[in-house]
Symmetry: C2
Subunit: 432 residues, 2 copies
């Protein structure tokens, strides 16, 4: 057996503790698989004395996290978080020192992945971040390696476990968003400030990373159009179900002549599609390749065990010497791609209006659709039950035929400020 | 750009043609990802003049397939098939020459994988066979690398597309096995001699490979207990549906104190399980790890495009220099594990009897179950429609509580030769 892979670990939260427990419990098996032991030698975190349920007295303690890169180690594992600050400093100093860097930090990779990938290539160091996307699911490996023979037409999936937990609970119990969010927060499934999850920012970080690897383009987080699930009502879930769909927050990216398209948005997914059956905090990613067809990767998207599994998988790759450019090709080979114009896209849409119960409202909506050139496939009007947060309103749900998204946007623009609407319309795309 | 990876290709059937087309179409993208071009330089097949829809005149032609290993190439791709014969000779000579060997040949890897893995390690050559299991789905990579940090408790899945095509067509259309098989053969979805697919041998080859990688045990194809879907009736599918299940041919392996357990058998899968929603020729594999939880990999299990995708993914790994021991650890580290005793297993069972419509039959079956200690959860008796191949019979379906499989076997043994039974009972396990 060759010499151990020596690890410094920054961050001792739930995932850091999970990494320590995993290496303790599965260490002998991992040494057989990796060809050498993987040993944590030093750790750093904010509070040395906190009880983490694991013995850290056997590791060297370092007060200044960014000093870990200077130790006699092969790899630094960063579980501190934050797109900048100490995490980024640590990444830069570690890679500059020619040491491997493994992270679960999606925000940092989405923002600074290109720079860090260049730094890794310059020093010959490994840069790996499997845990940054879809927790324990090896989807970065699946795209970087498993599907590497394919031109990827499209990549999309359920990238945020908190949102999927809330949507599938709304679905199962007929409850509204705010109600389920409050319960999820009480149970610890959602953060006290859930903005990054609920509004699609977390999924957007992950999508930007996936799109780069899938398409050979530079990570472009700033070009992801993101909205979340805040405005999805129980009535939307019920109407979607009646139409043969479930609502899922999808990150979706494709890449064609028009540029790189990246969107995080609640979508209607046909019940015949595998993603319609993904419930709870599970993540699932679909990649469509020109030879392999549709690949699906699914599993736990968060939690200390799954995330630690992905972090240690990266360490095993490094211990085996099986690693290369982080984004599947050298940073300089990644194309700087302009964002695609969403108005040019075609698709089917679901639009739900909450309207006043008075004469002429339907005619006004129908006229706006007609004037914008939107072709209506079905229209349903249903009275509100009164306890759905838009009490006293009537719901009008329109499903369009396939057509340009620009037309739907124009129709909604025409209706803006209309006295007939009692709230903002909700426009969701139907996954095609 | 460094020098190309030079390939010799043995076998120019549909998959071989797919590999050539894929490298033609995606070659530039693959060179960016692999860091170097991948170039076929020589080919060999039975018939040089056959029209394959691709131009092979640009490659050197070699009459004797086994001579490919002697050429100036980096990797030999074997798509000839057969567990022994020329494929095995080619594998041995290629690896002995220190050249990479990539194959889609599940039978050869299931039978001779250990020997070939040793040969690869001895010469430092790559041995890769992603296409041997689940076609285009990167499940070997998923287990070998993606889930490598985990002790895998269990691996199971839908490993044969032909059987899943037949079962899901029976399910959708209420038809019986023989009828759907005949149609599948006419359409080319099933072989003229479908034995390997239908009776579970193909799935058993794949399961033996997956189990070895998952558990760190030597491939043990001879220890796989395999039966197929020949005896599944439309009535079984209907009864399962009424109970909340779908029937799927599963390969399932686990590994504990009792040894290595490997089984290919039709199972009842709860409709809440993702595998219940896998229809058509799709393959899907679940791995349950002690940290990652349940991982699912799903996609096209066969076909020239998906299989070529997996073959070329292996070539990209080799071009990148990202490869190591084929079964996830050195051959000598793989444990020689005794097979587990199936009688020791516990589970729930579905047993369907076709019985004569006369007094006392139910009592006889119930007594046999009681005497063997089988605890019955539900029992359904239903008249036959007469057009299901067991005309005039009555069906009795029993679902057991969880208990030892030995007891069910004993109950069926007690009923053997009973005049009350008009056909062989069908015993299926319920996936727990």
């Amino acid at each position: 057996m060759t010499k151990p892979l020596r690890i410094a670990l920054a961050g001792l939260g739930t995932v850091g503790g999970g990494v320590i427990r995993l290496l303790d419990e599965n260490g002998a098996l991992i040494a057989r698989r990796a060809g050498r032991p993987i040993e944590i030698v030093a750790v750093s975190a904010r509070d040395r004395s906190k009880d983490r349920g694991v013995d850290i007295s056997r590791f060297a303690w370092v007060d200044d996290t960014t000093a870990l890169a200077g130790l006699d180690v092969d790899v630094v594992v960063e579980l501190v978080g934050g797109s900048d600050g100490p995490a980024l400093t640590l990444a830069r100093t570690t890679l500059a020192a020619g040491k491997g860097f493994v992270t679960a930090n999606k925000a940092m990779i989405a923002h600074h992945g290109l720079e860090l990938s260049r730094a890794a290539e310059a020093s010959g160091a490994a840069l790996k971040f499997e845990a940054a996307v879809a927790g324990g699911v090896p989807v970065i490996k699946g795209l970087r390696e498993g599907a590497a023979a394919n031109a990827i037409d499209r990549v999309y999936g359920i990238l945020n476990g908190t949102c999927n937990f809330i949507l599938s609970k709304m679905e199962a119990e007929g409850r509204d968003f705010a109600d389920v969010l409050a319960e999820a927060q009480a149970l610890g499934y959602a953060e006290a400030d859930p903005t990054f999850d609920i509004d699609g920012v977390d999924a957007a970080h992950k999508l930007a990373i996936l799109a780069s690897i899938a398409f050979g383009t530079q990570p472009a987080f700033g070009d992801v159009a993101a909205s979340g699930i805040r405005h999805v009502l129980a009535t939307d879930i019920a109407e979607a179900e009646a139409l043969g769909y479930r609502i899922r927050l999808l990150g979706l990216a494709d890449h064609g002549a028009g540029g790189l398209f990246q969107r995080v948005h609640p979508h209607l997914v046909a019940v015949s599609h595998p993603l319609a059956h993904v419930t709870g905090a599970t993540n699932a990613v679909v990649a469509e390749g020109n030879y392999v067809g549709r690949l699906l990767f699914q599993g736990a998207g968060a939690g200390d065990g799954p995330t630690a599994s992905a972090v240690v998988a990266d360490l095993i790759d490094i211990a085996r010497g099986e690693f290369g450019p982080a984004f599947a090709m050298p940073a300089d080979a990644l194309a700087a791609e302009a964002p695609a114009d969403p108005g040019e896209r075609r698709g089917r849409a679901y639009v739900r209006f909450a309207v006043a119960d008075k004469v002429g409202v339907l005619a006004e909506i129908a006229a706006a659709m007609r004037d914008a050139g939107v072709s209506i496939e079905s229209l349903i009007q249903r009275g509100s039950s009164g306890d759905d947060g838009v009490g006293g309103s009537v719901f009008v749900v329109i499903v369009t035929h396939e057509g340009p998204e620009r037309a739907v946007a124009q129709a909604l623009e025409r209706l803006r400020g209309s006295q007939s609407l009692t709230g903002q319309p909700l426009w969701m795309h139907i996954l095609g």
